[in-house]
């Protein structure tokens, strides 16, 4: 019996692109539905499938919605299990806790930085955002260095929850650095993470997923958002 998998998302969302990467990694076919106007009118489908938060992405599997990107990723991992312990989460409970911790950390920090830098032209809030980016990239660099792995990814030879979560932010990290005119993911402070970034973007599922959220398009869109909603002219 073929199952029906739909992804309701918005092209620019790092939370959405990670769902696409995850489904591609599992070889699951899906129908992509773009939420047309994220910030203005929300579609009927979105309001029905995510009445609590009214946010994308939403995974709709055989008619049943799953919301919140990290929850979706774990659902995908459990519903379409990989062989030989090559899932998004390792089998050991402690290692799972570590993976969850870093995915959660990436989301807490990078999303906050996006919020601060995107919504402000300059000043204290932007500087705060830059500081968060620099510190979190350095912290993640150390985390990558410290984790025992048998390959280039956080997950070793295969991408795991942290790889997918972080990779989904790469275009946004580039955008933030351009908007704020600063560097956070750089060789001098994050040698391991930079090496990781070069390799992860070549991973087939990641490459396909990230092709839907090209950096230049994100930057242009970010500039439009700043102009339209926050009155910031570059």
């Amino acid at each position: 019996m073929t199952s029906s998998v739909k992804v309701l998302s918005f092209w620019r969302s790092p939370f959405g692109v990670r769902v696409l990467i995850a489904l591609k990694e599992k070889g699951v076919e899906y129908e992509y539905i773009e939420e047309q106007d994220l910030l203005e009118t929300k579609s009927k489908l979105l309001l029905e499938s995510n009445p609590v938060h009214k946010k994308v992405p939403v995974l709709i599997h055989n008619g049943k919605p799953v919301c919140e990107s990290l929850i979706i990723l774990q659902y995908i991992d459990e519903t379409w299990p990989s062989h030989d312990n090559n899932g998004f989460l390792p089998p050991d409970p402690y290692e799972r806790a570590v993976v969850r911790f870093w995915a959660d950390y990436a989301d807490k920090k990078i999303f906050e930085a996006i919020r601060l830098i995107l919504k402000n032209a300059e000043g204290e809030l932007v500087e705060q955002g830059k500081k968060i980016m620099k510190e979190s990239m350095a912290t993640l660099d150390k985390a990558l260095k410290d984790v025992a792995r048998d390959g280039p990814y956080f997950g070793g030879k295969n991408i795991n929850l942290v790889d997918i979560t972080l990779a989904s932010y790469l275009c946004w990290i580039e955008t933030l650095e351009t908007l704020g005119n600063f560097k956070s993911l750089e060789e001098s402070t994050c040698p391991h993470l930079c090496e990781w970034a070069k390799v992860v973007v070549q991973h087939p599922s990641v490459k396909e997923g990230l092709a839907t959220i090209p950096a230049q398009k994100v930057l242009e869109s970010a500039r439009e958002l700043r102009k339209k909603y926050f009155g910031i002219l570059e």
Binding site: Q74, F101, T139
Partner: protein
């Protein structure tokens, strides 16, 4: 509180190491260098941080003999449990803290904060009616599950918020299942480890209210 209740539910013996958050110990700084916060679970010397992550770890490290764990076995059930656990973690306490903050503000701010708190609690009430909660009294059904453990601090915090923010929730009218949840959770042996509400009120007065002072 969540970590302790999870351990008690699993019948795991533990040692509680109280922390002075105004003077953080080396143990805390070494085991949670990223956030420097409690709770931290140390299991055979290895540190697990962030309460939601700790509860899932406890569930996985000590699977229940009868197969009835804090999270259900099916992927969709797990996604639902995680969703509501996340809602509790991100929305519920914030909304209630908002009423405390607004208690120092204008009448308009107070009304808005209370409306928000009622809306959030009503959403929880609806969640209780669906899924396993439909069987009640817990979100996990007849037994406590992930969502129940994540919500458990409310047992001691809500009286503090009600008192300090003069928050009045429409229990009988709109939140009957939540009211039943409170009664069942308070009576549950695992929650005997929670601090007494007056102690929590004292903490709220000492730590939170000054933060909200103008």
């Amino acid at each position: 509180m969540r970590a302790e209740v999870a351990l008690v539910l699993k019948g795991v013996d533990y040692e509680k190491v109280p922390q002075d958050l105004s003077n953080k110990s080396e143990l805390l700084l070494n085991s949670n260098p990223v956030y420097r916060k409690v709770p931290v679970l140390l299991h055979n010397g290895k540190a697990v941080c962030e309460s939601g992550i700790i509860v899932e770890y406890v569930d996985e490290a000590w699977p229940s003999a009868d197969g009835d764990n804090l999270l259900p076995a099916d992927a969709y059930g797990r996604a639902m449990a995680r969703f509501w656990a996340d809602f509790v973690d991100k929305k519920v306490f914030d909304a209630l803290l908002g009423t405390l903050k607004a208690s120092k503000g204008t009448e308009e701010e107070k009304a808005a904060a209370e409306e928000n708190a009622v809306a959030v609690m009503s959403t929880l009430e609806e969640a209780l009616m669906k899924g396993k909660g439909g069987e009640g009294p817990f979100f996990g059904g007849a037994r406590m599950g992930l969502v129940d453990v994540m919500l458990v601090p409310l047992l001691v915090w809500l009286p503090a918020f009600e008192e300090l923010a003069q928050l009045s929730l429409p229990w009988a009218n709109k939140l009957p299942r939540l009211e039943a949840w409170f009664a069942a959770s308070k009576a549950h042996p695992s929650t005997a480890v929670l601090p007494e509400p007056p102690k929590v009120s004292e903490f709220a007065i000492k730590v939170f209210l000054p933060r909200f002072a103008n």
